[in-house]
Symmetry: C2
Subunit: 220 residues, 2 copies
């Protein structure tokens, strides 16, 4: 297995090419850190973008979320062309000039055809991966799906072949002539996603303790 994804016309971009990378581990790291993704597809020639949950397993991405009957039919019938994008914002980049303001971020864009996972065992494995992608360790501490629940759940599989990661980091890049202007410049870092205090369900029986996988949840 190569260390980088192949580049294609749609993953090479046109602006800020120096920010683009194809390193497999870097792409995986961003996908794994994000709690959710945005999935784009085409309906009647027009774009639709919806938030969905995702889980990466090796070089496959599993997707779960509402996408509508027509998109699902396409996913069954030869695959649904999708663009899956994950964006992590690391900081606000404040320059002396409005023009040089920017954002520090890491964004992964994946193109490909998503297909429905049909095989029940594969679907069950994908669902466990999805639960664990959101809360690592959770899938071992729940009631697993019944055949009826499995049938009522849709999971799509997208091979990771055409993927890129775009990154900006570091301080603002002001024009030389602006450096002595009296405006503050720098980066306002944004703190990675954090969890608050777990809120037990109102109908939780007494004596069920908050498990470690909930107490220790963190990202980034």
């Amino acid at each position: 297995m190569t260390e980088t994804y192949e580049t294609t016309a749609r993953t090479t971009g046109t602006r800020h090419r120096e920010r683009l990378g194809y390193d497999r581990a870097a792409v995986h790291a961003v996908l794994d850190e994000a709690v959710f993704c945005h999935v784009g597809f085409v309906v009647d020639g027009e774009p639709v973008v919806l938030p969905q949950l995702h889980a990466r397993v090796g070089d496959e991405l599993f997707l779960h979320g509402s996408s509508g009957a027509r998109a699902l039919r396409a996913a069954r019938d030869g695959g649904l062309p999708v663009c899956v994008t994950v964006t992590l914002v690391d900081g606000l980049v404040l320059a002396r000039s409005a023009f040089n303001h920017s954002i520090n971020y890491r964004a992964v864009v994946v193109h490909g055809r998503a297909e429905e996972v049909v095989d029940p065992a594969a679907k069950q494995a994908a669902l466990s991966a999805l639960v664990d992608a959101v809360v690592p360790g959770r899938s071992a501490d729940v009631r697993g799906p019944t055949p009826k629940e499995l049938a009522a759940t849709t999971v799509l599989r997208l091979p990771l072949t055409e993927a890129s990661v775009k990154t900006r980091s570091g301080p603002p890049a002001d024009d030389e002539a602006d450096l002595d202007l009296p405006y503050w410049a720098g980066v306002l870092p944004l703190v990675p996603l954090r969890a608050g205090t777990p809120q037990p369900a109102p109908d939780l029986p007494g004596g069920v303790a908050v498990p470690d996988h909930v107490r220790s949840w963190s990202r980034g």
Copy 2:
């Protein structure tokens, strides 16, 4: 001006319709809280989804970010069909069953045609709004754009007419039969976006203090 957006086939959805709303103020609140959005459009019949910055001014959304030469040509020539989606995740919903796991979130989806802002004064106003959308108050404390910088910047305008907000909140909804299973259930709230300590640019002259609009930045 009415209090809700008109519904259309593509904003009424098919799953969890009870979570969908069209209240103008609720749509605006989500757009205003988010630091960035995901913009979807179609190139060669295939979907593209990219993160961009946005600023809402009344019932218009201004968009700024890379989108590629072909999309820009379409935006100049009659408008680029886009779907703009903003998602705020409020908590992870852990049920006794894997099947009833969910996410508490607020997601706005806007459909429409984005057109390039050409008039220099309108473009300058939109850029100030974009700077202030990311860091409120910042646009008064920077060097404004030169005519050359303005010409090098692309801003798209999208009227807010076809917009919806989908919301899930509250505890997990477990099946009655699962309530006494020995699994913890509840919500793990995610803390709203927070800023860390401002990092002055390495080339910032001494004596330029961190301004209030940086020190007091917050969301949510």
